[in-house]
Amino acid sequence: MNPIVALLIFPGGLFVLTLGLAYEWVDRKLLARAQNRVGPRWFQPLADVFKLLAKEEVIPNDVNPLLFVGLPIAALAGALTAALYAPIFGLAPAYSFEGDLIVTVYLLSLLTLCMGLAGANTFNRFALVGATRTLTQLFSYEAPFMLALLAPAFVAHTWQISTINAYASTHWLIVTQPIGFLVALIGLMGKLELPPFDAPEAETEIVAGAMTEYSGRGLALFRLGKGVEMVVGLTLVAAFYLGGLASPLDFLLKTGALLIAIVIIQALMTRLRIEQTVGLWWRWGALLVLVQLLLYILWEVVTA
């Protein structure tokens, strides 16, 4: 594929941004319907982004302006770059090499890291507490999430996303590795700071958390970044656990099903306190995935 097209239009750039907004709308609409609300119209996420882009960005006194402006850009860039290695829309990734899974997972963490730094960059009390929580949460879900994505890689004997995708299309790993699937899906929710893992931006305690000081462009870019991350994350989980992504229809059906699952979890749960989140991930998430990996290794040894 032509690199310029790949970066700007598909699978990076415009296409993922649009898809991110669309998924954000589906998420908001379905959650609203689950809560007996009407929910936004289809163009609401787009309108939000346009409004934010048009607003004046207020840069507070005594922050590093370079970081303040640069972090949202880095965050969005990281998420968009991650999209290049994922089988977006059921098509082959734009770029692929042995080990791109690791790169993709790290690029996905870049968004959270940038948000944490952006919060720590300002002198706002809510932003500081929010940044602490964002980073705390990052350290708690990151290891289990990564382990959950590595389990399919073990089975497929490769670190390349496209190869795992091909392997998964003949093996529904959700059947053999249900724990990994659950941890990956819930880890994705932690990554996106969706309820019940929204302690870092709990509006009833710390306003908007790390994002408190962001108003215009910066906030728009962070939001876009989250949308992109949602698409990439759903793609990875669907490709690895739900029988691979071979066609656009496959993609829409499988990621759509995952999105619905995420919405249901969001609707049913109470926000966890930050120490409850950490406890949940380290006591249960990480442990269960490790047990699953251990079982797999034992199985390999026995059947070898």
Binding site: A34, Q35, N36, R37, N61, D62, F123, R125, F126, L128, V129, T132, P195, P196, D198, A199, A202, E203, T204, E205, I206, V207, A267, L268, M269, T270, R271, L272, R273, I274, E275, Q276
Partner: protein, 401 residues
């Protein structure tokens, strides 16, 4: 012009303070809290009230007895009937007027509908503070039922204006009574479901069980009242301790929990909704016949009195003094929130920052109810309470400039 850098964390030992309010998404009402935190743990809490001081107590001194009814009803939007009823009870006592039985029972019915309305609103707010928005949306949807019932009776959804000095403004027809019974049946069913959710939802329990525990001793010492106190095992309910109006005929149940944590406060309020439903049904079945009003004198006899009513949040207390004219000499209002506010500050220490909104909301604060005094702060931040004389002096000086 460049401002001086704002210091957030400086020397060791200096406190990191998280301000909540008066403009804050957690509190749609204006109160200002300062929580000193060490990491996520709250080490100290202070409150500053007075943002919605509206001068109502001064205002009532220049309005006549009837006009004050409307004025006092607007102290609070949620328990407006309570305020009007407390005032009416006091003024009727001063005037030595006996309200007809039917009017008393109608007052009780409206008061209990209001209690359901208030508790369901509280349940939604508390769920929202805990981050359980689905429960919030559903309770507020169901609350519409009780608001519709109040609208059916009085024509208003918020300030019902049911009271008159010496009676009530509207009657309850058998058709209306049937509508109320239907609505209550629906609410009672939903209430059972919510009670089930509150007692069995593991994640919600993780946020409310054992949080903000107030022992019985603490509750007595801090002077907590209403459901907050009853959740700590303090048997205190004005409807039973000093029955007024129709509560002499229809007895509410005393609902007590001993745990004293947020879960207990949830359960007490939810059980009170169920009891209110029962009480209203009982009152509707035994609605005595008769007039709705008696004649009230325009001037109230000289004297002073107190009247107490169990508002949804606790005891509402009125001191009314008349000098024999058609204007009151003094009306002093004490609302339940101000009594419970002390418990928030005492309970906050040692809890997580994430629990603060929940502990605060646990007492069901109503800021427009409680703002009656002014604390002034100098720019250096020291709080200082001014006496009436100081305020007058300050006011005169301020306008001389």
């Amino acid at each position: 012009m460049k401002q001086e850098p704002q210091k957030v964390i400086t020397k060791k030992g200096e406190r990191f303070i998280i301000p909540i309010g008066p403009q804050h998404p957690a509190l749609k009402e204006p109160g200002h809290f300062e929580f000193a935190v060490d990491g996520e743990t709250v080490t100290d809490a202070t409150v500053r009230l007075g943002y919605v001081h509206r001068g109502i107590e001064k205002g009532v001194e220049s309005r006549n007895w009837v006009q004050n009814l409307y004025m006092l009803e607007r102290i609070c939007g949620i328990c407006s009937h309570t305020h009007a009823m407390t005032y009416c009870l006091g003024v009727e006592k001063l005037a030595a007027v006996e309200v007809p039985e039917r009017a008393q029972v109608i007052r009780l019915i409206v008061a209990e509908l209001e209690r359901i309305h208030s508790h369901m609103l509280w349940l939604g707010v508390a769920a929202h503070e805990a981050g359980f928005d689905t429960l919030f949306m559903y309770t507020w949807r169901d609350r519409e039922t009780v608001m519709d019932l109040l609208e059916l009776l009085s024509g208003n959804r918020v300030n019902y204006s049911a009271n008159l000095l010496g009676g009530v403004k509207f009657d309850i027809s058998p058709q209306q009574a049937d509508k109320i019974r239907q609505g209550l049946a629906f609410l009672a069913e939903r209430n059972t479901h919510y009670l089930d959710v509150v007692m069995n939802d593991m994640l919600l329990l993780g946020r409310i069980r054992g949080v903000g525990v107030m022992t019985r001793d603490q509750a007595e010492k801090l002077g907590a009242i209403g459901p907050t106190a009853r959740a700590s095992g303090v048997a205190r309910d004005v409807r039973l301790d000093a029955p007024y109006g129709a509560y002499r005929m229809f007895k509410p149940k005393l609902i007590l929990e001993t745990a004293g944590d947020l879960e207990a406060r949830f359960i007490v309020r939810l059980r009170e909704i169920a009891d209110s439903c029962r009480l209203i049904n009982e009152a509707l079945d035994n609605l005595p016949p008769g007039d709705l009003t008696v004649r009230m004198p325009r001037r109230i006899k000289e004297g002073e009195t107190i009247s107490r009513v169990e508002a949804p949040r606790g005891e509402a207390f009125y001191f009314i003094k008349s000098n024999g004219s058609d204007l009151p000499e003094r009306i002093k209002v004490r609302t339940p929130t101000i009594c419970n506010m002390g418990s928030v500050l005492a309970l906050a220490r040692g809890h997580q920052l994430a629990d603060m909104p929940m502990i605060l909301v646990g007492i069901d604060p109503c800021f427009s109810c409680n703002d009656r005094m002014i604390t002034l702060r100098r720019p250096d931040g020291e709080a200082e309470t001014w006496s009436w004389g100081q305020l007058c002096e300050y006011g005169i000086k301020a306008y001389q400039r």
